[in-house]
């Protein structure tokens, strides 16, 4: 593997007395699309601001292309940021906004004009040069913010929840737009969001964060299918997290029923957390199921039905299925062995947060 473009080494940061980042290490390869994902307050935005130079870490170093840039002010860094709520300059026209960085660098006028035209074309807003900022919609402002950043040809584009203020439809369109841009420009994107769908759709690599720690880092598929702990499982998509007992390798007991699985190495008779995605549960006839329960809720969701199945011990299973079973019907629950994800139980709340970083 080649040298990482950005390397965060043992970064810690406190605000007042709250620890926001604790000994965080993260490497970003060139030309990747990395998403920092997590609930608000997890430290993802702070990480981005440390990379951008808007916060300085209390300890640790930021390495960019082999150079330590920890103390470099933001205006000297070869990266650009697209801010949450865009942060366009309200007193400048669209063209002036886009030209800002280039004018600072004293580029010739013809070069700047070309760049403005090119950038506007790239974000599909040709001819908007002389419009004022307030005359633009949220989505348009967003694209201008991106255009303003990319004309400077940064090595890395930092995006801080750039789609947070847009409505659903626009957000989906912009996701494709961003992927297209990323491919056309061939630069590294570091993207911050709390929206798991965005993360799954766009990224090469997802970094799930919580309470200042990295919980899991991996491709979208890895993150979704093999969550390493209950937090990741719960945060990414919907899931049933059940207490289980690892009888021995490849056999787990859930709600009193024994399920075959593919995981090994958890010891024998160990309490574990078991994650089963709602779409991985097959509803079968009661007699064919490993577990039996009664359908207690039913909602039509368009592409599938969402059902709640209550088993005798009182656990409510969330089930997504294209087949419908009416409320009150007895059903059997079947799960394929490779759809069962076994995780160690955290010893305490604290350890739950510490996760994989330890």
């Amino acid at each position: 593997m080649s040298q990482p473009l950005i390397d965060l080494q043992h970064i810690s940061k406190k605000f007042d007395d709250t620890l926001v980042l604790d000994d965080l290490c993260l490497s970003v390869r060139e030309n990747s699309f990395v998403t920092l994902l997590g609930p608000s307050g997890c430290g993802k935005t702070t990480t981005l601001r440390i990379i951008g130079g808007f916060e300085s870490p209390d300890t640790g170093n930021v390495i960019f292309a082999g150079n330590d840039i920890t103390k470099l002010p933001p205006n000297k860094r070869q990266l650009n940021t697209v801010f949450q709520k865009y942060a366009l300059f309200p007193h400048m026209s669209i063209a002036e906004n886009i030209a800002f960085g280039l004018k600072i660098k004293k580029k010739p006028k013809s070069y700047i004009d070309d760049k403005i035209r090119y950038a506007l074309k790239l974000v599909n807003l040709d001819g908007f040069e002389h419009r004022s900022v307030d005359s633009l919609s949220g989505g348009q402002q967003q694209r201008i913010a991106i255009a303003r950043a990319i004309v400077n040809e940064p090595k890395v584009l930092l995006l801080d929840e750039p789609l947070g203020a847009l409505d659903l439809k626009l957000r989906q369109d912009m996701q494709y737009e961003l992927i297209r841009l990323k491919n056309e420009l061939g630069i590294t994107f570091i993207y911050v969001t709390h929206d798991q769908e965005e993360a799954l759709t766009m990224s090469d690599t997802i970094v799930v964060m919580n309470q200042g720690y990295i919980q899991q880092m991996g491709s979208p598929e890895q993150i979704y299918n093999e969550p390493e702990n209950a937090f990741v499982a719960d945060f990414i998509g919907e899931s049933n997290i059940v207490d289980g007992l690892m009888i021995h390798d490849e056999l787990v007991e859930i709600c009193g029923a024994k399920f075959a699985c593919v995981d090994k190495g958890f010891g024998t008779n160990q309490p574990v957390d078991v994650v089963i995605r709602p779409e991985d549960i097959d509803l079968v006839r009661p007699e064919n199921g490993t577990l039996q329960g009664v359908v207690t809720h039913l909602i039509f969701k368009g592409v599938h039905y969402e059902m709640e199945v209550t088993t005798p011990d009182g656990f409510e299973w969330l089930v997504h299925s294209t087949d419908m079973a009416p409320v009150g019907e007895k059903v059997g629950i079947h799960v394929d062995p490779f759809d069962i994800q076994i995780m160690n139980k955290p010893a305490s709340e604290d350890e739950e947060a510490v996760g994989v970083n330890e």
Binding site: F15, D16, T18, V20
Partner: protein
């Protein structure tokens, strides 16, 4: 952990410098308010006597009461009118709304002096006599815009849907307003009220133009006091006001949690609880404070107006020109309530009487001004049957009065004296300056920045005209032009043009020579003795001759209580009263009977009672007609603006 950078040091240094600049004056005043001596540079030990003096000063207490009352009532009325109209304006269409908001901004953007003048002209034009109510109206007028400006944004924020939701849930429009909209805009209303209150407290200029007889707010009182000379009780007043304002604002404005906005992690429940608690405390304190103000103001108003004064007397006099106990004695003996008001110069007094903005019953102008008032029909003839004590007045002064009141029918002499030069023996000696003997000595360049001139037209021109040997009543344009040039020539030598302040400035050793009224001499000599000053102040009547002046009581033609005014004048002519006044104001009394009661040493003090026959070349001011007056005025303006 964080380094203290050079940049931060410079920033802190800068903040500190500005803070010093902002607070040094205030701190100085607070320190001086505890200083036992009147000196501003010597610490004479700790004392609270200036505070006692302030608390015993009826004028300050009255002004304080007026200030609070006006601020409270005007803020209250402005809040009611302002809130109602904000609601009205907010529901209007764009055009009328823009127009009304534009007019609303006028009193805020307009300079206070123009607002004050315009209101004064308006009151006078509609015959509303200047007084408490005009000040109140003026304050309401400039307060309403602030209320509207603070209610309006809240109204805009209030969603109309909440109002409609309330209607939908069965509330009547009135209920919907008071239960839903009103609580929403209440913070705006409260802050509007507070702003109006503080604006009113702090106002000087508009009050200055719209106030009338006997009504002083703290600001106008301070202004006239300061122009008379700085008294340490003013420092005490400053200290009290500063501390009060500080405490009130700390309680109402300062929320400790607000300075946490720097941290991105808003820390939840504890903070919210804290905020709620401090909001409750603030509300409580605010409630108590406003209840206290209402109580104090209400009580004082009650006590003031509970005694109705059908029997009144409006007196308009110079500052510090009466022993206040004389007023009390008069009120006790006659049962007449006296409303007492002050002016600083004849020129300031005249337009007030002319406009009839305040209908005074007894006024005490000087010689030439009496003539002007009489010629312009502003004076009523005095019925001397009601003034039997006129017999106590030395006839030679009645004779002198014929210069300006030929038939002795309008005026009764109150004080008289000369204008001369006061000099500081020590400064003269130290700087090897000549002892002044003549007016023309005041043009000696050696006196540069050591001269205090009188800041009134006639006195300033008198000095110039006399120094050249002309009459001080000249109407000759050439002579006046020469006098003007002479005054302009003198200006670089002059430290300041002052009126009453000359006395305190000379005592404070600010200047070597000053033009002063002879009546100040007794006070000055006593103060020099009391303060153990290391110099003495001597008075000379310049050789070229000077102004021999008489201040007399007159009754304006529009007086409403003429008989009371005659009783007042008669009372002042009583020997015991005249003596009391003389001892207080120390200006020579024309009252023969009173003079005889004086100790011989005082009676023969040449500075106070110069032998009138020896005063060669002395004149009494005559009124020279409006046109010549205008010439004097415009020449004087040329001098001042040069």
């Amino acid at each position: 952990m964080k380094r203290y950078s050079l940049k931060q040091f410079f920033q802190d240094f800068y903040l500190a410098l500005i803070l010093i600049f902002l607070y040094i004056p205030i701190l100085t005043m607070i320190v001086l308010s505890f200083n036992n001596t009147k000196s501003r540079t010597l610490w004479g030990g700790f004392t609270l006597k200036w505070y006692e003096q302030m608390l015993q000063d009826q004028a300050i207490l009255n002004a304080l009461n007026n200030t609070l009352l006006i601020a409270f009532v005007s803020a209250l009325i402005a809040t009611v009118i302002g809130t109602a109209s904000a609601i009205g304006i907010n529901s209007m269409k764009k055009l009328p709304r823009t127009v009304l908001m534009g007019i609303n901004n006028i009193p805020i953007l307009n300079s206070e002096i123009v607002t004050g003048i315009s209101l004064m002209l308006c009151f006078i034009a509609f015959g509303i006599s200047l007084g408490f109510k005009t000040v109140l109206i003026a304050h309401i007028t400039f307060n309403i815009p602030y209320v509207i400006l603070s209610v309006m944004p809240k109204l805009r924020q209030t969603s109309r849907y909440t109002y409609e939701a309330a209607l939908d849930l069965g509330a009547s429009p009135l209920q919907a307003f008071f239960k839903v909209v009103f609580p929403d805009i209440l913070p705006g209303i409260l802050s509007g009220f507070l702003m109006a209150f503080t604006m009113s407290l702090d106002d000087f200029i508009i009050t200055h133009f719209t106030r009338g007889a006997g009504i002083d707010t703290l600001s106008t009182l301070i202004y006239s006091e300061v122009r008379r000379g700085i008294k340490p009780s003013m420092y005490a007043l400053s200290a009290v006001i500063f501390v009060t304002v500080l405490v009130l604002l700390l309680i109402t404005n300062f929320t400790p949690e607000n300075n946490r906005t720097g941290s991105p992690q808003g820390n939840d429940a504890a903070l919210v609880r804290k905020r709620n608690r401090s909001a409750r405390i603030r509300k409580g304190v605010l409630g108590i404070a406003s209840a206290a103000v209402i109580f104090i103001v209400g009580f004082s108003t009650y006590s003031r107006y509970s005694v109705s004064h059908s029997n009144e007397l409006y007196v308009y006099n110079w500052g510090e020109y009466i022993d206040e106990s004389v007023i009390e004695q008069f009120e006790e003996e006659t049962g007449i309530h006296v409303v007492y008001d002050l002016f600083e110069t004849n020129e300031e007094m005249y337009p007030v009487i002319e406009a009839g903005a305040v209908q005074y019953d007894a006024v005490c102008p000087s010689d030439y001004m009496i003539q002007k008032m009489a010629e312009n029909g502003l004076l009523a003839e005095i019925n001397f049957d009601n003034v039997p004590n006129i017999k106590n007045i030395d006839p030679q002064f009645l004779e002198m009065s014929r210069e300006f009141d030929p038939e002795n029918k309008y005026s009764v002499p109150y004080t008289w004296g000369t204008v001369g030069i006061l000099y500081n023996t020590k400064l003269i000696k130290e700087r090897n300056l000549p002892v002044p003997e003549r007016w023309s000595d005041l043009w000696n360049p050696a006196y540069e920045k050591e001269i205090l001139m009188q800041d009134s037209v006639r006195d300033a021109f008198m000095v110039a005209l006399k120094s050249m040997g002309y009459s001080m009543n000249t109407e000759n344009p050439d002579e006046l032009e020469l006098a003007k040039q002479k005054l302009i020539e003198q200006k670089p030598l002059v430290q300041a043009y002052v009126i009453d302040q000359v006395r305190d400035k000379m005592i404070g050793g600010e200047a070597a020579v000053g033009v002063i009224y002879s009546g100040e001499m007794l006070y000055i000599q006593e103060e020099v003795k009391n303060q153990n000053l290391d110099f003495s102040l001597e008075y000379v009547i310049p050789e070229e001759g000077t102004n021999l002046w008489i201040d007399s009581w007159v009754i304006p033609a529009n007086a409403r209580n003429k008989e009371n005014a005659e009783k007042w004048i008669d009372f002042l002519c009583r020997p015991d009263i005249a003596l009391k006044n003389f001892e207080y104001i120390t200006y020579a009394t024309p009252n023969r009977a009173a003079k005889e009661l004086l100790e011989p040493e005082l009676r023969n003090n040449q500075a106070i009672f110069p032998d009138t026959e020896k005063l060669e070349g002395c004149e009494v001011y005559r009124y020279l007609g409006d046109e010549t007056d205008a010439v004097y005025n415009s020449l004087w303006k040329e001098v001042k603006s040069n």
